[in-house]
Symmetry: C2
Subunit: 595 residues, 2 copies
């Protein structure tokens, strides 16, 4: 029995019936693939997540990691699975075969991560960061760099990290202090980084850090930051692991959750000198790094959603087994399963809708990302790229916060038992909390969405988003049964659009007042996407939901979660949009001493 | 430097300016007291909380508790403070001097608990449960029982517990299986209890369990449950600690939080026989126990609020010290304190309002409880008793959930640091989570409010509540500046009243549909009370808030938090009230297999 629970039917309903992901196989890059191959990959990924990754969750939580004499030590099972994970192709599932990838659609990386993060959040950060770091080298590095590092990162021999944060440069990367001194053909790196996930460990032969640093003498601010490849061990003449490169782990954080994921403080070049290799153009490091940061942001949303998903499934199982209390409608004598208590069902239905809506949001965004990268014509690629960029902060912030809320609600279904470590939910809750904090706090995501993303190209991203929403609304506004809910969505969208217009004006004229309400504004967009995706699924499921028989309960579930969620959420969305443009200036005007 | 932070000015503003708690000294029971004595007690309690109790929080979290050979072992500092806490009079602050109490108003117990729980939640459960158990004996026990146990519980020599839950009788006490067999003059107790807070430990000489059990042959259901006093050690002939009474701790729970509060499984009379003393009338045990349960429910709300309070104060301090990012309105060059970022200020202001509103809600309810117990005339006592009963589930559920939400938001203000154990907030978050689960889950509180409390005496409790709300609204509807917000509250209240009426009908005609929305309905009431209390404070502060000078910032804070919170929350209250009476029947009709 594994802690990790997932309903495979929900996964395939989104992939096949809602998105028709088999259509990706008609794109040039995927011509050798078929929908059956993709299906097989999904079931295999779930199998691997359950069998290999899920057991690490308990091992990691029980044994944890140790920091001893500048070294992080992990449970031995982690090294074993990290190697297999790479060798079996999961790390580089979506990368090109040239450097060892499997050539699957980009979206499959997200789908695979859904299962792997759900099985063990702490562990899966290692291959996921490794993928991101290697992909960065693949995208911007020289041929030599690529050959030296990428294949061994993809196959689980080396791992990778992203090194951004410093003690005074967290949310504000412009303050980066780490310096790269030119020396001969290369650079010597000097500086400190903190909060580096999997920054040190013993589960791979080498650790390849992707480091933001300033070339000595570079301009101040973000325009003076470059990207470097800095391995823990230099490579020897044959490309094997050579001498220590003076990357010292000076400590790890003691955290609320993620107990099996080392969060390291690193010191570069304090002693013997630390060699770094420039990756991409000088002073363009932050722009390059955004490839990895955006990917990490999406993965943060995936983590929030998938922890919520397994939390919900665990709560559901519990409510189907636990007997407590009498039936409130006195339909039967004696005590009943707690799934028969309406308040418990309310929580279950809300969780079900939240998880399915978030998963559909994420898979849809991932599908769009594939069309953006591999679509046939330029105009279409631009449209989908705009959608992808627009969705990134929404996926990150909304799914991290809603995911945490689902974990909390799942615990509530278990009563006092949910608070005990005998059940996995308290760990999910702890692990999930980081998602709203790292990879740019949710407040920063909101500023990104309501600022940059709303303004770029005269609002082209929002226009792309609006077009997709309108297409759905136009197609289903007159649905015999769900049309009323679709029109509710239309009304809410109109209200949110007004709010967005007003906020765009304020972002120039009254930036403090604007910034006071960017986060609730982001939530409005998240709500809209949720209801849209849920209603879309409901429309697909509608006909079968009307048919008799137990086997159609699944489809009735899709309809019920959509109408319930829309009715419960959209009224709040409309009101929240109203609060975002309120006139009251308390936030801006209150003196610091008045708090 | 203690983790525990509190703004004393906020406390006294509610006590003195909003409630005028000095007026209690005119009641017969308190004629020997003056407002100055009460003030002194508040400052002394804060001092004791900071100096003696707060250090236990870190000690308890670091060292935790151990279970060894049927014994729970606590850090030695706990025993020391438990004794002093009793001796100094904090345990029995509000009890009558006859058995060792200090004779202070009942509300002072709540006020003292505010500080003590905030200083160390895990520890303060011990004296708080001890008080509740001793008070139960004082209320319902024989003279002999009272003399034997109560003074030594109040003075910190013995501790006390409440033993309700069994493996199959958690929320459903009707299923209680523990049996009391008559033997001679007394009873022999046989059974098991779980989830007993401070059920075993080594911080007092004896542990006095207040146990629900069925006298052998008693009727089924709650009408067959009696209350027993069951000490861990029997008393010897001189009233000292005598032989072991066969109350065995069979294990403690490993929990998300409250790491220094042992949650014990207890076995009564499995081996040598366990003597219990009947407390109160046979088969009236649950009714008696409700005195302690109601008190525990209020204290749960207090805990949620006070953890939120110190979490907010810690976040506030952090945002006043941490520099990060540029000023969004470019008012100054360089980087700014994060309290200057509007999104951070939004979180701070919401937390400030939430904490102050909850504290006012709780203190007001406590003040009413005093008037209910000690008021001059019968009619007035009935009015305030109705209010107290009505408020209990609201205080418990609303303040536990909102308190948790504040802890979460406080963490968000610290970014990644908030996730680290270097700061106290992650512990607050873990400790606070239990509040929505124990002492009756929040779902059960909602059923209590919208069911029993709404129906009893033809809605007399709600009528009492409505009268208080209306008095406030009538008095301030035409306030020159805050009148608009008061009228918003009036509108929201009207809407919630309609919802309550409709739900009362449904509770008879359509109990499953009714029970599907009891929890959001409770939230509506919580919102109303919050806005009412905040606007009341704002009206009091208004004149001084208009005056110039730094020293009036405090009053400007009272006004700003009220207008901001009212504007942000009431629109949602109205919408939520609407969802509570919606027609959709998904929760009721969905098949179990459709989840």
């Amino acid at each position: 029995m594994t802690h990790f629970k997932i309903n495979q039917k929900d996964i395939f309903f989104i992939l096949k019936e809602q998105l028709g992901y088999g259509s990706l196989c008609s794109l040039k890059r995927y011509r050798s693939l078929t929908e059956e191959t993709l299906d097989l990959m999904v079931t295999e990924a779930i199998r691997f997540a359950k069998k290999a990754v899920a057991p690490l969750n308990e091992i990691g939580e029980e044994q944890g990691i140790r920091y001893e004499k500048g070294q992080v030590l992990c449970p031995p099972e982690f090294a074993e699975v990290f190697r297999t994970y790479g060798q079996d192709g999961w790390t580089a599932a979506a990368r090109d075969p040239e450097y060892g990838g499997q050539g699957f659609p980009h979206m499959m990386r997200i789908v695979v991560n859904d299962f792997m993060y759900g099985a063990c959040q702490s562990f899966n950060m290692a291959p996921s960061l490794t993928h991101g770091a290697a992909h960065l080298i693949e995208s911007f590095g020289t041929g030599e760099l690529k050959k030296a590092f990428v294949p061994r990162m993809y196959n689980g021999t080396f791992s990778g990290t992203m090194c951004l944060t410093e003690p005074d440069a967290g949310s504000n990367l412009a303050a980066t202090q780490t310096v790269a001194y030119p020396e001969g053909d290369g650079y010597k790196i000097k500086g400190s980084k903190i909060f580096i996930s999997w920054g040190d460990h013993d589960i791979a032969d080498n650790i390849v850090h992707l480091v933001l640093a300033r070339i000595d003498g570079a301009p101040e601010g973000v325009g003076g930051i470059s990207l470097f490849v800095v391995p823990k061990y230099r490579l020897d003449d044959h490309g094997g692991v050579g001498p220590f490169n003076d990357v010292v782990c000076t400590g790890i954080e003691d955290k609320l959750g993620l107990h099996a994921s080392p969060t390291a403080a690193l010191s570069f070049g304090a002693k013997d000198g630390c060699v770094g290799y420039l990756c991409g153009e000088p002073n363009r490091g932050l722009a390059h790094m955004f490839q990895m940061m955006n990917s990490a942001r999406i993965n943060t949303g995936v983590s929030g959603m998938t922890l919520a998903s397994t939390a919900y499934q665990n709560a559901l199982e519990y409510t189907r087994q636990r007997v407590q209390g009498k039936d409130p409608a006195k339909r039967k004598d004696g005590y009943v399963l707690i799934i028969h208590h309406p308040d418990v069902r309310r929580m279950l239905l809300w969780m079900k809708a939240s998880v399915d809506g978030m998963r559909s949001m994420i898979y849809t965004a991932a599908f769009w990302a594939d069309l953006a990268a591999e679509g046939q014509d330029e105009q279409s690629r631009q449209h989908y790229q705009a959608l992808t960029d627009f969705m990134t902060p929404i996926v990150k912030a909304y799914c991290s916060d809603a995911g945490f809320r689902v974990c909390e609600t799942a615990m509530q279904c278990l009563g006092g038992y949910g608070y005990c470590r005998d059940y996995p939910i308290e760990q999910y809750l702890r692990d999930a909390k980081i998602m709203s904090l790292y990879e740019g706090t949710n407040g920063i995501q909101a500023i990104d969405l309501m600022g940059r993303k709303m303004r770029i190209n005269d609002g082209a991203m929002f226009a792309a988003f609006a077009k997709e929403m309108e297409n759905f609304i136009d197609a289903h506004r007159d649905h015999d049964h769900l049309g009323g809910h679709v029109r509710d969505l239309e009304n809410a969208f109109a209200r949110v659009r007004e709010m967005a217009d007003e906020m765009r004006r304020r972002s120039k004229d009254d930036p403090l007042q604007w910034a006071s309400y960017t986060y609730p504004a982001l939530l409005c967009f998240g709500d809209l996407v949720m209801v849209w995706r849920l209603l879309d699924m409901a429309c697909i499921a509608w006909d079968r939901a009307q048919k008799k028989g137990r086997k159609n309960d699944f489809f009735r579930g899709k309809v019920a979660q959509a109408t319930f969620f829309a009715d419960m959420v959209l009224p709040h969305t409309i009101q929240r949009a109203g609060t975002c443009t309120r006139q009251g200036r308390e936030i801006v005007e209150l003196a610091d001493t008045a708090f």
